[in-house]
């Protein structure tokens, strides 16, 4: 009896999480332009979407931002994880590193965004050529992504022992060889899941982008936000549904990856 109650609440909670998205999906294929009365199935809004230059531009910006920031964050984060796990640092240095590392994880993103805006504006006052736009967005995204990549790769490093690296050393492998032939291949799954995490974080981000974007670097979340404030259209529903589907695919892919890793 109690078990049924728990299951009932759990399923209702899941429905609560998915109902809004389901509604968006339904209205994205509804023929009605205004109002919410069902007027039959159509894919017109999706084809209109592909012809909308602003949306395509925003999609390109989003993807570019996510790819570039993820690449930078993955390299920096992986290096940091190796530094923290494989080299001896004093206790106080370790504490300092982990504080700096956890700071962007728990700080509300609006604070991070606020400090970046103020920082950037001072840079702009000093060098007149610097304007907010794609570079400042990339900097903002990398700054919160690095910590997540580092934490994921560190987690992976804690799983396997250093025996293989020691064995490689015994067989006269150089530093570069140990890194390239032993450590990096062992870390690869961790690096990939860290990168995927960073990529999704970048696609998801609204606040940092909102504060650091320039006039020509609108991303999809920014575009959706601006359109929603003007009034929702079926095109926006179609766009949101597509973004949601991409998220689902990314999550499923990441899940498969992490399950293979743990087997």
């Amino acid at each position: 009896m109690r078990r049924h109650l728990v299951s009932g609440i759990a399923l209702a909670t899941l429905a609560f999480l998915y109902l809004p998205m389901l509604a968006v999906g339904i209205y994205s294929v509804n023929r009605a332009k205004y109002g919410m009365v069902w007027q039959g199935f159509t894919l017109d809004w999706y084809s209109k979407l592909l012809q909308n230059q602003d949306i395509m531009e925003a999609a390109r910006n989003t993807l570019f931002l996510a790819v570039v920031s993820t690449l930078i964050a993955t390299v920096l984060g992986t290096m940091l994880a190796i530094a923290l796990e494989r080299y001896p640092w004093g206790k106080r240095a370790q504490n300092f590193f982990s504080t700096v590392l956890y700071l962007p994880v728990v700080t509300p993103d609006i604070i991070l965004a606020a400090s970046l805006v103020v920082g950037f504006s001072l840079v702009r006052a000093a060098f007149s050529g610097f304007e907010l736009g794609m570079p400042s967005m990339i900097i903002g995204h990398v700054t919160f992504q690095v910590a997540f990549v580092t934490l994921v790769v560190q987690g992976r490093m804690k799983v396997f022992s250093r025996d293989l690296e020691e064995a490689a050393r015994d067989l006269y492998a150089s530093n570069a060889d140990v890194l390239r032939r032993v450590l990096l291949p062992l870390l690869a799954p961790g690096i990939v899941s860290g990168a995927m995490l960073a990529f999704t974080l970048s696609l998801d981000d609204f606040v940092i982008s909102f504060f650091t974007a320039g006039p020509t670097s609108t991303t999809l979340p920014l575009f959706i936000y601006a359109s929603v404030r003007r009034g929702v259209t079926p095109e926006i529903h179609a766009l949101s549904t597509l973004v949601f589907l991409v998220t689902v695919i990314l999550v499923l892919f990441a899940e498969r990856l992490s399950r293979r890793k743990s087997q």
Binding site: V6, T13, P20, M36, M79, L80, L101, D204, I224, V243
Partner: protein, 301 residues
């Protein structure tokens, strides 16, 4: 030769080891110092500055902004900003509480599924976790609009006036907040529930403990690490949240996040915005300490 040491099979010296470590450490550390720590320090300095006539920053240092945030304005004391702060804490608290109440059944439900389907259920929680918040928030418009079946049902029950939308309202903000943060509680909580020692729970049940007592003494202590992480991951970002109240709350339901954004945007009072942001940061640092002592036993998916 006293510096020579063997470091995991490698004959090296402390100096060379540290140099090599620095190569790996420095790029990321400099990045974080330059774009995280330094702007943070700048924010502290700016928070003591003054707003110029045209929204620029005038470098006259005084604690004026902090006084203003506490309500001491030009025209005597008024609780406006304190009210916003209190409302943010309240919304964050209620959001955390509701999320926890809903998260327990869900975490137990997933943990008691057969091994094969458990990942599937877990994925169902992870997907909203990663779905863009702007989309998930505006999606509530559709369910809260006057034409939606849900609102029509409420109207038929005379709970709302027919033809009224349920947003913007405090209720809509809570709905949006709970649905935004629920996965943040469920996921860490699940990782605690998964390794729960059921013997203790069964023992309590065998001894005819009241269900409340079974929960308080058998389940709660065991799931406390996950619960703490979940609450912190909810409470802190919820206080700084600005998308949900902005879209679902309307102008009357401002939270600290909206206040900061407003000062950056329309009001262009950056020093004041900096002071409020730092007030929020102070609370975050307190939470970080708690997090660091508790989070060691929990892994986030």
């Amino acid at each position: 030769m006293k510096n020579v040491l063997v470091w995991y099979g490698e004959l090296t010296s402390a100096g060379s080891l540290r140099r090599r470590g620095m190569v790996f450490l420095l790029p990321a550390l400099l990045w974080l110092l330059g774009f995280l720590v330094l702007p943070g320090l700048v924010l502290i300095v700016v928070s003591f500055a003054e707003r110029g006539t045209y929204g620029d920053i005038v470098w006259n240092f005084s604690p004026e902004n902090y006084k203003r945030a506490l309500g001491f304005g030009l025209f005597g004391w008024s609780p406006d900003y304190l009210l916003i702060l209190w409302r943010s804490v309240l919304v964050a608290g209620v959001t955390s509480l509701c999320s926890v109440l809903l998260a327990y059944p869900l975490a137990f439900f997933i943990a008691t599924r057969p091994e094969r389907t458990r990942y599937l259920w877990l994925t169902l929680v992870i997907i909203p976790f990663w779905t863009n918040l702007v989309i998930r928030t505006y999606a509530w418009f559709l369910l809260l609009a006057p034409e939606s079946p849900f609102v029509k049902l409420l109207a038929a029950l005379h709970l709302v006036t027919p033809g009224d939308a349920l947003y913007p309202s405090a209720f809509a903000v809570y709905l949006g907040m709970v649905s935004a943060f629920l996965p943040f509680v469920v996921l860490p909580l699940y990782s605690s529930v998964e390794r729960l020692n059921w013997n203790l729970v069964e023992a309590a049940q065998d001894l005819y403990a009241h269900p409340v007592r079974v929960f308080m003494q058998g389940i709660l202590p065991q799931t406390l690490p996950g619960l703490t992480v979940g609450v912190i991951l909810t409470f802190i970002p919820a206080m700084g949240m600005f998308v949900v109240p902005d879209l679902l709350g309307g102008a009357k339901y401002l939270l600290v996040g909206n206040l900061i954004q407003q000062q950056f945007g329309a009001s262009r009072d950056w020093p004041f915005a900096a002071a409020i942001a730092l007030g929020l940061m102070l609370l975050t640092l307190v939470a970080l300490r708690i997090y660091r002592t508790r989070a060691t036993e929990v892994d986030l998916v």
